[in-house]
């Protein structure tokens, strides 16, 4: 138990600190690296919650897919210009205030509701077939929403390709 708690706090701290570094680094490649660290530690947190499937998918999709494409695009950017630009614009204090309000709200809600919404304990021990469970839930219980979501993504993808093409020609 001690070990589990300790590793949770370590992972959470790593995630938060590197997330802060993501927004404060001037060099976009460094930001991307810290974002990868954040995503990895979140994946490890999933692993700790015995959600192996989600942890694996988090690594494959976010790090292996999205972050690789991010880096691909960043490498094509002229770094000298990016390094001279300030990383924050004029509205940073508005965003900061909004984030603070949200944080206060979250803490308040969790504090007020701590009696009624007790978090269930994770069942101790072994591997559960969580791939099978997710597959069943997605493709049997929530088939329609799943298909609608994928259609939406398809439309977005086609739209993005169309916009990119128009600009080129």
């Amino acid at each position: 138990m001690m070990f589990a708690q300790g590793s949770f706090y370590v992972l959470a701290a790593v995630a938060v600190v590197s997330a802060l570094l993501v927004i404060t680094r001037r060099n976009p490649v460094h930001s991307a690296i810290y974002l990868i660290v954040t995503l990895l530690s979140v994946a490890l947190l999933y692993l700790q919650l015995q959600a192996e499937f989600i942890a694996a998918v988090q690594i494959i999709l976010y790090i292996g897919g999205i972050m690789v494409l991010f880096l691909f695009v960043i490498m094509l950017v002229k770094l000298d210009v990016a390094l001279r630009q300030p990383p924050f614009n004029q509205q940073w204090w508005v965003a900061g205030a909004a984030a603070l309000v949200l944080a206060v709200e979250l803490v308040g809600v969790i504090y007020l509701g701590r009696g009624t919404a007790a978090l269930p304990q994770a069942p101790p021990g072994s591997l559960q077939p969580n791939t099978e469970l997710i597959g069943r839930t997605l493709y049997q219980n929530y088939m329609l929403p799943f298909e609608i979501a994928s259609l939406l993504l398809l439309v977005a993808m086609v739209g993005a390709v169309l916009m990119a093409r128009r600009k080129a020609s």
């Binding site: 060099n27 490649v29 460094h30 690296i33 990868i36 192996e52 499937f53 942890a55 694996a56 998918v57 690594i59 494959i60 790090i63 292996g64 897919g65 972050m67 690789v68 494409l69 880096l71 691909f72 490498m75 094509l76 591997l127 559960q128 077939p129 969580n130 791939t131």
Partner: protein, 435 residues
């Protein structure tokens, strides 16, 4: 002292296994480079490394020493931290993935119920090392190499994923051990049920490991050495290690999914049980070769060490094969409940697994020796216009076949071959359209 041992006991065996796998893979990488040079040389009617040790057998050690002692150069404009970090990422990703490979039923580090997904995830981290290394060098050719590598990996990962799905449809599980067990239960390696998926996996694996004919990220005629142009000495050797470890890794994945992992060929045919003695036969043959070479070498003083080394190797191989043939009844306690040849049975799985992996690796080297390199647009067009559609068609037809065989009670292999035929039809149509 005993308390310490008791608390460490559950960690001890996995730790030993980790060490064995780590050292074993490093050793295989070293000799894989030697094998590559030798095989390429013989393909071109040359001799290859011959000087260091008999037949150049000690060449990997000399190479390793050279790489370690070389000057470690960093370009002036490089991004220091990232430059140092990048090769380490590649190596860690390549080696971590081996913790999920089942080398034998009695020898694997861990088995997770999402094993294959984790493997894909961890090995896709390796590409970050390539991208960051290419970028951090702050030089033209590495950057171009890194960009090419990214585009190539992202493109071929899609086809690779669909090929894996085809195999998973048959196995019904993501756990690597259970995939091999499924092949044992069904009595057939999945390559015979899913030849198209196997082919796509193989081609995509070559592309993923940046090997010829898809080695554009390090095409020496265009990019000097691609993403690792600016790396030298120890850091370069890290990239080297990662690349060859990745080759072994993709071969292991292909072997586990399609070639029955640790299973012997015709594992169910009792009449072929004599195949269990193949390890001994291989060792005896190797010993015989050593002795023959030992006598063929000139009997002068300069060759004395080489002859002694060959003699030692031969005796060692004979000794190991004798150890493998140690009957159970000579063991203390009479070997109650043990198979007739305990040592031979124990290494059975690892032997067949590694033999299949070496078959793959030989293929990698053979291709490098024979195929001309693709042009980059050809590579992209092959990936997106041919491999991915065919892989998707294969998944669709094979899942249809599985459903049909379940609903109508048709035999699974026949239905799957029908699905494969449909996929091949699609592939032929695609080729025709392009021509």
């Amino acid at each position: 002292m005993t308390l310490l041992l008791e608390t460490l006991k559950p960690y001890l065996l996995p730790l030993i296994r980790v060490l064995v796998v780590f050292l074993g893979i490093s050793l295989i990488v070293a000799y894989l480079v030697y094998a590559e040079r030798k095989i390429l040389a013989h393909l071109q009617v040359r001799l290859g490394p011959m000087r260091v040790g008999p037949h150049g057998l000690l060449q990997p050690i000399a190479d390793g020493l050279k790489l370690l002692l070389k000057e470690d150069i960093m370009p002036a404009g490089a991004d220091k931290g990232v430059f140092l970090l990048a090769p380490v990422i590649s190596v860690i990703a390549a080696f971590t993935a081996f913790s999920l490979i089942p080398f034998a039923p009695n020898f694997y580090i861990t088995d997770v119920n999402v094993g294959l997904l984790f493997l894909i995830g961890i090995s896709s981290l390796g590409i970050l090392g390539i991208i960051l290394g290419g970028w951090a060098s702050n030089s033209h050719y590495p950057l171009l190499g890194a960009l090419r590598s990214t585009a190539q990996l992202v493109s071929y990962e899609v086809a690779l994923g669909f090929a894996l799905v085809s195999a998973l449809l048959l196995a019904g599980t993501l756990s690597m051990v259970a995939i091999v067990e499924a092949q044992q239960r069904q009595g057939v390696w999945f390559v015979f049920l899913q030849p198209v998926a196997f082919f796509i996996l193989f081609v995509a694996a070559i592309a993923e490991t940046n090997r010829n004919p898809f080695d554009l990220p390090e095409a020496e005629s265009e990019l000097v050495a691609g993403f690792h142009t600016e790396y030298s000495g120890f850091r370069f050797s890290l990239y080297f290690l990662a690349e060859y470890a990745a080759m072994i890794l993709v071969s292991s994945i292909a072997v586990t999914l399609f070639l029955g992992g640790w299973l012997r060929p015709f594992a169910r045919v009792r009449a072929l049980d004599f195949l269990d003695f193949t390890p001994v036969a291989v060792l005896v043959l190797a010993a015989a070769w050593c002795f023959r070479e030992c006598f063929r070498y000139p009997a002068t003083r300069e060759w004395r060490w080489q002859r002694l080394l060959l003699l030692g190797l031969g005796v060692g191989a004979l000794g190991i094969s004798a150890g493998l043939l140690l009957p159970a009844r000579f063991l203390p306690g009479g070997g109650e409940g043990l198979p007739a040849f305990p040592a031979l049975t124990a290494i059975q799985g690892v032997f067949w697994f590694m033999s299949k992996v070496f078959l793959f690796l030989f293929g990698f080297i053979w291709f490098r020796g024979t195929f001309p390199r693709y042009r980059f647009d050809q590579l992209m067009s092959l990936g997106w216009h041919f491999m991915i559609p065919v892989a998707i068609a294969n998944v669709i037809f094979c899942s249809l076949a599985i459903v049909l065989s379940r609903q109508m009670g048709w035999g699974l292999p026949a239905t799957l071959w029908l699905g494969t035929a449909a996929t091949l039809l699609v592939a032929a149509l695609l080729r025709r359209e392009k021509a």
